[in-house]
């Protein structure tokens, strides 16, 4: 899992005349509505083509499209992260991959393909997880585009980029463009961390994966999916006890398939197949190449507009619904005050090193402007004082007498929750 900079194949670094003739129509002169900060001409072209560094997360269905679009619109320093290897089932829509590439890392093959195909573009792949990288890594980019299918990974990168924002350093604010598709539906959005609504703010808008009532699965199966869930949710733990089901292990999927098939036979249900089994347990949503193309194109247009200031960018959520005709809707998704990532309130407090936790809590309760009752406090690594449940209250009670400075370092943050607060409060502690 190492970063590998690949050489540039047949590609030449130099541009040829009129290579960007069409794109330059937009970059050479301002329009009536372009932002006043737009530097038409060489300034913006130089930024786009020799300074701007962009990170693409995911080299799958959306990622392949995104990489191609970025390279062809003039981005030249592109990085790509993906932890997966190429599966034969990817080849119908992930067009940077060929049958000979099956089994190889997506990020590396995609990078190689783009560099061979588009001269002068450098694509730096990383085969691994986004969580492997630290803040310094993410700091080097101007922009981040995500084409992911995992909620968990999106939540992680969103929180990381929100946390990266340092009010003292303008460079620390990295626009995040997030694309996602589900069959004929998709969305593209622009997140300006801490300024606009973030991914976590909209978490409750997500379609949740279909789950069937467990009693239906156990007693009255009617669909092939019920049989598959019976095998994975009820039979697997019963037969294998604590052995964890690995949905990437073909042997495990094989066992589930066989078990589900037998169950389906018993209840005269048709339609249990290997691929349906895999689809249900991995929660695979059918991917359609053309939906990916629309959403990726829209993400890349936004990246281009944000990088160049050549036109107004998306504010902030574009939704495409192709399941019943074609419907699209763009709206400003609002920041949630109680968002645990970008919402809540932050308070700077300066206290003496002698203050006890008890005294700090008293001070919080007395503060008129926050109206806090029964606060519970923790740092990112430890509990300071919990009001409930009883076991944790008892365990943390001795801390009340301790000095805050014994538990929290200067400049550290304390997370405060309380039933009277719809959001969480962050205390930035300074000792005086």
């Amino acid at each position: 899992m190492a970063t590998e900079v690949l050489t540039n194949g047949d590609a030449q670094a130099a541009d040829w005349p009129d290579r960007y003739y069409h794109v330059d129509q937009i970059l050479d002169r301002p329009g009536p509505r372009t932002d006043p900060s737009f530097m038409a001409g060489d300034g913006v072209k130089d930024f786009l083509r020799s300074q701007c560094k962009i990170l693409v997360i995911g080299a799958g269905g959306l990622g392949c499209e995104i990489l191609a679009n970025l390279a062809l619109s003039g981005f030249k320093d592109i990085h790509v992260i993906d932890m997966d290897t190429i599966d034969i089932s990817n080849l119908n829509r992930q067009f940077l991959f060929r049958p000979k590439d099956v089994g190889k890392p997506k990020a590396i093959v995609a990078a190689e393909f783009i560099m061979n195909r588009v001269p002068g573009v450098k694509v730096t792949p990383y085969y691994g997880k986004i969580q492997d990288k630290d803040d310094d890594y993410y700091m080097q980019f101007n922009l981040v585009i995500c084409g992911l299918d995992s909620v968990e990974a999106r939540r992680w990168i969103n929180a990381t980029l929100v946390n990266l924002v340092d009010p003292e350093n303008p460079e620390s604010l990295k626009p995040l463009i997030d694309g996602g598709t589900e069959g004929f539906k998709g969305q593209a959005r622009v997140i300006l961390p801490t300024i606009t609504s973030c991914y976590e703010c909209s978490l409750d808008m997500l379609n949740k994966p279909t789950a069937f009532p467990i009693c239906t699965i156990a007693n009255t199966p009617r669909l092939p999916e019920h049989c598959i869930e019976w095998a994975s949710v009820l039979e697997w733990p019963r037969v294998f006890q604590d052995k964890k089901l690995d949905t990437d292990d073909p042997e495990h999927i094989g066992w589930l398939y066989k078990t589900a098939l037998a169950r389906a036979k018993e209840f005269k249900i048709e339609g249990v197949t290997w691929s349906l089994t895999q689809g249900v347990v991995k929660n695979i949503i059918p991917a359609i190449a053309s939906t990916n193309a629309i959403i990726a194109a829209s993400c890349c247009n936004e990246a281009f507009k944000i990088a160049t200031s050549s036109a107004a960018y998306l504010n902030n959520y574009f939704m495409l619904i192709g399941t019943d005709g074609v419907y699209s809707y763009t709206f400003e998704h609002e920041k949630r005050e109680d968002c645990p990532v970008c919402g809540g309130e932050a308070l700077d407090i300066s206290i003496s090193r002698d203050w006890t936790v008890d005294r700090l809590i008293e001070m919080l309760i007395e503060k008129q402007d926050i109206q806090i009752k029964k606060p519970s406090l923790s740092t990112a690594t430890k509990q300071i004082y919990f009001q409930a449940p009883p076991q944790l209250e008892e365990l943390t009670r001795p801390n009340l007498e301790k000095k805050v400075s014994e538990l929290v370092e200067d400049g550290d943050h304390i997370t405060v929750t309380a039933s009277s607060l719809p959001f969480n409060l962050t205390l930035r502690v300074k000792y005086v």
Binding site: E152, I195, L234, A388, Q391, T415
Partner: protein, 181 residues
């Protein structure tokens, strides 16, 4: 590049840097410290530093399961509250005579699966579990025999519940003794 920082200047303190406490972590802290545990429910953390895994003991003080003690494991993953917590009955022999709990400890409670929403919290889950012991539901059976009995012959069902909690056997299934008093 667009000039985002000028927009930033108009923002107030709300947009300052935050600690590295994950969203799931904050939400679990909020949920746990606001739990309203009645005297019939008790949580236990075998590793108090790990807020994501604990057990819940329900000791109903009314209804047909009065006098029993029922232990559930609650496992929260880092994708909470997008995903519901995983709840299983972990009685030592894993045997409990209840229409909505099977002999493996699986629990049929709608908010644990199909009706889970991120606005629900741990308190809703605990209340839901407690309710199962007050009002066992014959319409969502996991233990089919128990559900059938409850529907057809309530008296016999009550008898079976008592028998099972004393450690008796019903239709060849030996139940664990769960009585605490």
């Amino acid at each position: 590049m667009i000039k985002i920082w000028s927009m930033k200047k108009n923002e107030d303190a709300a947009a300052k840097r935050k600690p590295k406490t994950s969203a799931a972590q904050i939400r679990v802290q909020k949920d746990l410290t606001e739990l309203e545990l009645s005297s019939t429910m008790k949580t236990h953390f075998s590793d108090p530093a790990d807020l994501l895994n604990f057990t819940l003991t329900i000791t109903p003080d009314e209804g047909m399961y009065k006098g029993g003690a029922f232990v559930f494991s609650v496992n929260i993953n880092t994708n909470y509250p997008h995903e519901p917590p995983k709840v299983k009955c972990t009685q030592t022999g894993r045997q409990i005579y209840h229409p909505n709990v099977d002999l493996e400890g699986n629990v049929c409670l709608n908010i644990l699966r199909e009706d889970w929403k991120p606005v629900l919290n741990l308190n809703s889950v605990l209340v839901g579990l407690q309710y199962l012991f007050l009002e066992p539901n014959a319409d969502d059976p996991l233990n089919k025999e128990a559900a059938e009995e409850l529907r057809k012959n309530r008296e016999q069902f009550l008898h079976n519940v008592k028998l099972s909690m004393r450690g008796g056997s019903i239709r060849g299934v030996q139940y664990d003794r769960l009585l605490v008093q």
